[in-house]
């Protein structure tokens, strides 16, 4: 059996990395272009307003539009505007939010920490718990715990999280009064209105974060549980596990070394791709229900207030994260699985 040259392998590995990066870049560019095109077609509320008032006062709406555009710098050929748009995005100038009266990037920067406050714990808990329970289920297939976990998984995936949030809020907030009904942003901030570490981790803040985390977690954990159970099951019943047993390897080592390690590959990829998706969409609804001033609420308000720049800005963030996530997913899959040899087809 001929061993491929070691340097050829290295080239292929690096080549893959580069190609994936390039692809991420291409995807980003495509999405930006589409955004630009869409933006061109979006009725701009302000311009519409201007034209309307111009028409009302007997002026020339076309002229008014021209002037406004020139003032705004919204002139030039389509291509010029396009390149300017792209360079703006890259340089961090994402436009001005009329609704918030601040640059889009600033609005995003203030909103993101709030989203992370419940998003990150949710991500961690669902990952750890989800995979653990899934693995346990696979190892103890058909046991009572397995059935209970599966049932729980079904419920978790099925329950509409916005409805669940409402129900929990009623029960734990109104009826039991264990958690506050209204989200108080002041609890996590200092006098000047800036987020402080102490404030974020304060008991009051944690209390009001419990329900959002629970709601978001139940959805994603269920999904993760089912997938990791399915993946682990394939390995649990694999022949090489039987070989290991016949060799006399201890049960613990079998689980850790022979099942977990190979199973972690598809699981790692799953984690990044699907989980992020669930979290983003879920967080949108969670924030609206609980009144958390995070990315979701920002986006929602932007839509309601017809704030074009902000709308696109708030849609970029999850999209870019998704692209990066996919990239990480592809790379980790390729590097973790020795069976994949970068372009050799079976």
């Amino acid at each position: 059996m001929q061993q491929p040259q070691w340097w050829w392998c290295a080239v292929k590995k690096w080549g893959y990395l580069v190609s994936r990066l390039l692809w991420a870049g291409v995807a980003t560019w495509v999405i930006l272009t589409i955004t630009f095109v869409l933006m061109e077609f979006t009725p701009n509320a302000q311009y519409a307003q201007l034209q309307f008032s111009a028409a009302q006062s007997g002026g020339d709406p076309e002229q008014a539009l021209e002037t406004a555009k020139r003032l705004r710098g919204d002139t030039g050929t389509l291509w010029a505007q396009y390149t300017e748009f792209l360079s703006n995005i890259v340089s961090g100038n994402w436009g001005w939010s009329t609704y918030r009266s601040q640059p889009v990037t600033e609005a995003l920067a203030t909103a993101i920490p709030w989203s992370m406050m419940y998003g990150v714990p949710s991500l961690i808990i669902s990952t750890v718990l989800g995979m653990t329970i899934g693995l346990y289920s696979a190892l103890n297939q058909y046991s009572r715990e397995d059935y209970a976990a599966t049932l729980f998984a079904f419920m978790g995936i099925s329950i509409p999280n916005f409805w669940f949030a409402i129900i929990l809020l009623v029960f734990f907030g109104t009826v039991l009064n264990w958690v506050p009904i209204l989200f108080d942003t002041g609890v996590a901030q200092n006098a000047a209105g800036n987020l402080t570490l102490g404030g974020v981790f304060s008991l009051a803040n944690l209390r009001q974060l419990i329900l959002p985390v629970v709601v978001l977690t139940t959805g994603s954990i269920a999904s993760l549980m089912r997938y990791s159970r399915a993946e682990a099951l394939e390995y649990v019943e694999a022949d090489f596990v039987k070989t290991a047993r016949a060799k006399g390897v201890s049960d613990r080592m079998i689980v850790l070394k022979h099942i977990l390690r190979p199973a972690s590959i598809p699981l790692a990829t799953l984690l990044v791709g699907d989980l992020l998706g669930i979290i983003f969409v879920g967080s949108y609804l969670v924030e609206v229900v609980f009144g958390i001033p995070g990315l979701g609420t920002l986006s929602y308000n932007a839509i309601i207030n017809q704030d074009t720049a902000l709308v696109f800005g708030t849609i970029f963030v999850p999209t870019f994260i998704a692209i990066v996530g996919n990239l990480a997913q592809d790379l980790s899959y390729a590097y973790l699985d020795p069976r994949i040899s970068f372009g050799d087809d079976e």
Binding site: M1, Q3, Y142, A238, D239, F240, K242, T243, A244, R245, A246, K247, G248, V249, S250, D251, K257, H258, R261, P262, I265, L336, D337, P338, R339
Partner: protein, 355 residues
């Protein structure tokens, strides 16, 4: 060969000294959604030191489960040993705890499985996996372990073992993979090697190589071998004694030469008939009995050309000796009050080739 005794002698004192493994009345069942599968239903056999016992039968005969039951390798649930005993070198393995059993696995009893493709963990190098076996079963440390790994790989016929230590399973051919599996099995210097259809998934030319390798290894290490197969051609090449199983029961048990020359059970005769070159092309008509609900009487009755009323009553007929004590058949026609004449034309002396 030393004096022979019947395989199911229960008197320990009269048991032969060089019997390494003694399986008696083994019953293994699987509890599934569709019912209880009677995989192994009262099987007994012995393996003596240094000998090769071949267990022959079709898929579903229970031969694999019988072997996995020796060190309890099948998943439990849903599989359970519900009767009988497995005595290995004086200890009943069925009553051992899992921990105790682990000391035997790989160490004194090793397994080689059918499917080399799946037998090796894809994310670890073969060096790593053989090393695992060496670490488990020897007291070697440091570089001695690596040397032993290289030795083992060399012994099973892997050329230039050192260069292959870092190979992943998917980089090797089927034959090579199987050699690695055998190397792992040898790491603990086992007394008994159980090979479950190790060559079935391989090309014929590779098959021969692996069989030769197993022969070599057995001689060199003075091991006993249980070789499970459905291929009588292979049996002819390597077996000392043969056990023929069908639907969870033993049909016939014999010395290999005698078996090929004059099989006494209709099933064995039918199997031999299926060998290429012996003329028949029909196969054995009929189907396997329902594993959930085995029929009364002889399991093979439905498909047997010599079937009579007695065959379908009661239990599977006990194994009656034929000729020498070492040859037994589970057939009513060989009972003391039976008529072997019924089997004329079905069993008995077969002319010709055993290859």
């Amino acid at each position: 060969m030393s004096t022979q005794t019947t395989p199911d002698a229960t008197d320990a004192a009269s048991r032969n000294d060089d019997v390494l493994l003694s399986v008696e009345d083994l019953v293994v069942q699987f509890d599934t959604d569709g019912g209880t599968v009677h995989a192994v239903d009262g099987v007994s056999f012995d393996v003596r030191e240094g000998e090769t016992l071949c267990i022959v039968g079709e898929s579903g005969s229970g031969k694999t489960i019988s072997c996995e039951a020796i060190t309890r390798l099948f998943r439990s649930p849903p599989g359970f040993i519900r009767g009988g005993s497995v005595e290995f070198d004086g200890t009943d393995l069925t009553s051992c705890s899992d921990d105790r059993l682990k000391e035997y696995r790989g160490n004194r009893i090793a397994h080689v499985f059918q499917n080399p493709q799946g037998a090796l963990n894809p994310v670890y190098t073969i060096g790593n996996q053989v090393r695992e076996a060496v670490e488990l079963h020897t007291d070697l440390e440091g570089s001695a372990i690596r040397d032993r790994v290289v030795d083992l790989l060399g012994e099973v016929g892997i050329p230039e073992p050192v260069t292959h230590l870092g190979d992943y399973p998917h980089e090797l051919s089927g034959g090579m993979k199987q050699r690695v599996v055998i190397a792992m099995a040898l790491a603990g210097e086992p007394d008994l090697l159980i090979a479950d259809e190790p060559t079935t998934a391989l090309d014929v030319t590779i098959q021969k190589q692996i069989l030769d390798l197993l022969n070599d290894v057995q001689e060199r290490h003075d091991m006993s071998v249980i070789f499970v197969t459905h291929d009588l051609g292979v049996v002819a090449q390597i077996a000392d004694r043969v056990l023929v199983m069908y639907a969870g029961k033993v049909m016939e048990r014999d010395d290999v030469f005698d078996l090929f020359e004059s099989p006494e059970h209709p099933y064995t005769a039918a199997l031999l008939d299926c060998l290429p070159g012996s003329g028949g092309l029909e196969g054995i008509p009929g189907d396997l009995p329902d594993p959930f609900n085995p029929p009364a009487g002889c399991r093979f009755a439905e498909r047997c050309p010599a079937v009579t009323e007695e065959c379908i009553e009661g239990d599977q007929p006990p194994e009656y000796p034929v000729g020498s004590d070492d040859h037994t058949v589970s057939c009513v026609h060989h009972a003391p009050d039976g008529d072997p004449g019924e089997l004329d034309g079905v069993t008995g002396a077969i002319g010709g080739d055993e290859s």
